[in-house]
């Protein structure tokens, strides 16, 4: 299953609902394009909802890191929401779990943006 995204706005935060796989090729490109487009519109508070992402490979992890640093370098914030166990475990073993701001409650996550 390839990656799909849809975006919605909640209290000034853009929530990107992602589903499928974030892997080398299409999935990584879609994520990059979505984040780039949001930044171009000045939407710098981004919450990536990964609740329906069942698979990420090393390229997908790299794309998450790239999105995180790109948003941060433009003065914004990118946080992760609803990690599946597989994605959670991957971020743990790559020591990225503490780098990303990871949330498991959407309302709380939205409020956490400054």
């Amino acid at each position: 299953m390839s990656m799909k995204t849809s975006t919605r706005q909640v209290d000034g935060v853009t929530i990107v609902d992602c589903s499928g796989r974030i892997t080398l090729g299409e999935g990584s490109v879609i994520l990059k394009d979505v984040v780039r487009e949001l930044l171009s519109k000045g939407q710098k508070k981004i919450l990536l909802n990964l609740g329906d992402v069942n698979y990420i490979d090393s390229s997908g992890i790299g794309e998450l890191v790239s999105a995180f640093t790109t948003v941060r370098n433009q003065g914004g914030e990118l946080k992760l929401l609803n990690l599946t166990k597989k994605v959670h475990d991957l971020l743990q073993i790559t020591k990225l779990y503490t780098v990303f701001d990871v949330k498991d409650d959407e309302a709380g996550a939205v409020k956490s943006f400054s």
Binding site: L24, G25, D57, S59, I61, G62, S66, K95
Partner: protein
């Protein structure tokens, strides 16, 4: 197999099927399939650099209580000693360089054999499941 992203997906799917047949549980199947995917990505992307004239070979063998997966490319040869540690603080925010680390995390043994004619990576997982004697290869 051709040096394409389709080969990466095919290798992952084959690994998932064979690991399932070998009796691994769902979590282990996912880890083995991801390790094979990462090795295939390295072969296609970094080894053969998508060169249509270069091939990737993939072989599965279950022998002596191990599932052994061998992936070879025809690239310049990967020097494993030159791969930076992706867990080092200065590398944490790099956008690449985690493939070999994930492979080593998910498999019981990993042997990387570079040469001037390409790199062979051998992945070994100890089998605890019921079936034995699976053998499959594709060029």
């Amino acid at each position: 197999m051709d040096s394409t992203l389709e080969t990466v997906d095919s290798a992952e799917q084959a690994a998932s099927r064979i690991a399932t047949e070998a009796g691994f549980d769902d979590d282990e199947v996912m880890r083995i399939a991801m390790a094979v995917r990462e090795a295939a990505v390295n072969a296609v992307l970094h080894g053969n650099a998508y060169d249509p004239g270069k091939k990737v070979s993939l072989a599965f063998e279950q022998t002596g209580g191990n599932l052994v997966i061998t992936i070879k490319d025809e690239g310049k040869g990967l020097d494993p000693d030159k791969i930076p540690d992706p867990l080092a603080p200065e590398n944490l925010l790099k956008t690449s360089g985690r493939g070999i680390f994930l492979i080593r995390s998910f498999m019981d043994e990993v042997v990387i054999s570079p040469s001037q004619t390409g790199t062979e990576i051998k992945l070994v997982k100890h089998v605890h499941g019921p079936s034995e004697g699976v053998k499959e290869a594709s060029q």
